[in-house]
Symmetry: C2
Subunit: 200 residues, 2 copies
DNA sequence: GATCCATGTCAACCGTTGTTGACTAGGGCG
DNA sequence: CGCCCTAGTCAACAACGGTTGACATGGATC
């Protein structure tokens, strides 16, 4: 059940806990993941998990920050970013692997986790992404974030069937088209008004 | 605190519980909503709530079915549907009003609620919507459902700021454009292949 | 050797939750 | 009156959750 126990035991315990937390939170929701589950996965006592991180919420925040690294996807032109984002949705998560998107979407509805996630999504995703987009940039970035979260939830959490087939790439193409549209579509009235003052 | 108590008291108790459940589930997540909260809102004992509906999950299912009526939005041409969907996202929910979308998105991550919601989304939304779309219809409908869920969550649950301003209609226009794109965009290779055989 | 600190364990607390069984009030009915 | 059924209450259970404080251990330091 334990993979490569030698290596894992060699890691400082705190890192093992963090990794266990990432794994648990990416497989189950914030509510469904107990500190005892994480402790058992890391091979330590519950009390120690708590003492290491102060609270469940802080542990979640650290696990999130350590695992989800959107900056890696947000490099290059807006078009290459769009492709990277679309592809990320299909990062297959095995029992051992951790899909960073899952850590986000599985806990979206818990108030404690939501505080952490809002901060993270705004500062580490929407903000950076917006720098690559046309005005209204923050709005476009937020809509794209919502789209990705929605696909992630319906696909990875709810397992809605039409979204599960990666065959033929139809889904990926559809998603890519949608993201691209949101990036570039005009939001002003059809007639090309003066592109000067837009408040965002 | 109680609005129009005369009318509410006149309703059969079971309906009052159902209404209280809808209200609670649209304001808080499945996990955060206790049967005692619903009972208190309806003015009855917890035990009675449970005996009326058998379990929390069944109560949730009934409250969902009674409140969320996507069929009302899915009439007319695909374009008018797109507009109705985009508008539904901005149905303002006051403390008294219930936004049907919230009941869905607030509980997406709880496993018990997820069972109920998957069934509901597939059968009452994706299915009907797909009948109005081009092939691959189910895939397009599912992507649109994911998009709406994503906006609903980031806007109504996480309160992501750029999504909150309804001013100017920029957001609604962006959303409408995205939905329309998903409805009509081609999913085959760019060069206009023979539009004949597409498998979905 | 004695002291100190980090690392960790053990047992328990306290609140909450869905759920259950025993009980009560009241109205229809024979 | 006596009976029964529905509607509804009350108290409690059993489990679980995050959290806490007291205690063990082992190496480093003086």
């Amino acid at each position: 059940m334990r993979r490569t126990p030698a290596i894992k035991q060699a890691l400082p315990t705190r890192d093992r806990i963090l990794e266990a937390a990432s794994r648990c939170f990416s497989k189950h929701s914030y509510d469904a993941t107990g500190l005892r589950d994480i402790a058992a996965d890391a091979g330590v006592d519950v009390a120690y998990v708590h003492r290491c991180f102060g609270s469940k919420e802080r542990l979640f925040a650290q696990a999130l920050a350590a695992t989800a690294r959107p900056d890696r996807l947000l490099t290059g032109s807006s078009d290459s970013v769009a492709q990277a984002l679309a592809k990320q949705l299909f990062a297959h998560d095995t029992d051992e692997d951790i899909n960073p998107l899952d850590i986000i979407v599985r806990s979206l509805t818990n108030p404690d986790a939501a505080r952490v996630l809002r901060e993270f999504i705004v500062q580490d995703f929407i903000g950076p992404l917006a720098t690559k987009l046309e005005q209204p940039a923050l709005l476009r970035a937020a809509v794209i974030a919502a789209f990705l979260a929605g696909i992630g939830i319906l696909r990875n959490v709810l397992s809605i069937k039409p979204l599960l087939e990666t065959e033929g790439g139809q889904l990926e193409k559809l998603i890519l088209g949608t993201i691209t549209t949101t990036m570039h579509a005009t939001t002003t009235s059809e007639r090309g008004k003066a592109p000067g003052k837009r408040r965002q």
